[in-house]
Point group: C2
Chain length 247, copies 2
DNA sequence: TTCGATTTGTTCGTATGTATT
DNA sequence: TAATACATACGAACAAATCGA
């Protein structure tokens, strides 16, 4: 690898280069990236340096290593969604993926909060989706999703409804947008009447409001989502646990 | 290091051995552990293996490396608390450590939920502390803390009140109990009347209930805490972000 | 089924750079 | 300045898992 004096160590320069290739779509989700020895040759660095660069991406769940097979671009499988992007479980501990039911799909323009979170100009065209999410057959979460229209060219209600995967898998498969990180802010609120009705919670009953921003490579925001969670039988899990502390 | 056929790779055996020493108090918070070359000699492994073992503990914020100085057992400084153990911020984004005010201190016995979370038998002696936490001069959080009495011998109200540090720094300095991980479950609730009064929220107004279990080494539970957060001007942050994705 | 090629995983060792004391 | 400690980078060897011939 050409050593420019950017003060960044080699392994980080490699990490950045790999991220650039991922963002550019050179390697697609589910595919194997070149072997460590091939990358070492391509970048003209040692295998150890490649390993250290890949380590960082593996730790961020962007790449997956499999001994004997190769290193793969992580896909949005149901397991991954359940583990990394879905933080709601029954109070008795059980965790399952929700069944989605699309309530509405519309074109809109970014409001103030949305524009801020999505890093858009106010009034930029967006798409809005409202979904009821069922757990154990009953609606427990109501999702209001907003995405920049420009990132999802041609997306309409029929296409959205025909999706047979998790939402992020759909973004990934159809629009080559790979959500790799989310950030959420939570508060307790009395929901709007339409939300309370959809969740079948009593008027003036509290629900948990979850405001999420989803990011792809290079911290580019992709989606803003407000989720209303009925916490009578479910709760939100926050398990901050970096590193590998197994014993 | 004696190679036993436990199928665990060397670096993990070293990691476990290091954790054991930390749990036993061989190295105290703030102190440096032996240098990598000293550890390599002691365990009869290469420096690279030591580095890999230490890496895992550094990733878990249990150890801190400082080039040129050494590797140190992490202390519960205010910065660390703010960053890793305090997830509440103003809605405008500002984050500050709260001022604690002890409301009550009492001896009790573990109730059902507490016993489960703390891995105690029901009825085991505990200590209870109720604190009002002020942000910007106003009470925003009410904490109900329960700890096993046996882990904090001699702890009484006077000692607790005289603490001049964060609570986890106090556990660490006085009782050699090092909180290294927390797990939280959140729901939206109408708080008990005493809580609503302490927080000066209207009756029937929702607050965010945060149920936390704090753990020390080897996943031993140390503390069960229910926090009631007034989310009119503050919110809870959940930023799942493993690995090092800086660019 | 066996075997060999490929790929990641583990471990070792060495050299040099950078920060601290 | 010198010694110490962690950080970076390289290379080599072997183990373990996978896969196809």
């Amino acid at each position: 690898m050409a050593v420019n004096a950017t003060a960044n160590p080699l392994y980080r320069q490699v990490q950045i280069a790999l991220t650039r290739k991922l963002a550019a779509g050179d390697w697609k989700p589910g595919e194997a990236i070149p072997s460590e020895s091939a990358l070492a040759h391509e970048f003209r660095v040692s295998i150890g340096t490649i390993r250290k660069a890949v380590d960082a991406l593996v730790a961020g769940n962007i790449l997956l290593r499999q001994q004997g097979r190769g290193t793969f671009v992580a896909m949005h499988t149901e397991d991954r969604t359940l583990f990394y992007f879905f933080h709601i479980a029954r109070k008795d501990g059980g965790k399952e993926l929700p069944v989605h039911e699309l309530l509405s799909f519309s074109k809109a323009r970014a409001e103030s909060a949305e524009a801020t979170r999505l890093d858009l100009g106010r009034g930029t065209p967006t798409l809005r989706m409202r979904n009821a999410l069922k757990l154990g057959g009953r609606p427990v979460i109501l999702d209001d999703i907003v995405v920049p229209a420009a990132m999802f060219p041609g997306l309409n209600e029929a296409i959205y409804r025909a999706r047979d995967n998790t939402i992020y898998a759909f973004y990934q498969a159809r629009y080559r947008i790979n959500v790799i990180r989310i950030s959420e802010r939570l508060s307790a609120e009395i929901p709007p009447a339409t939300v309370a009705a959809a969740l079948a919670v009593p008027a003036n009953a509290p629900v948990l409001a979850i405001r999420r921003v989803a990011y792809t490579y290079n911290n580019t925001p992709v989606e803003y989502r407000v989720s209303w969670l009925d916490t009578r039988e479910h709760e939100y899990l926050s398990d901050l646990w970096k590193g590998d502390l197994r014993q």
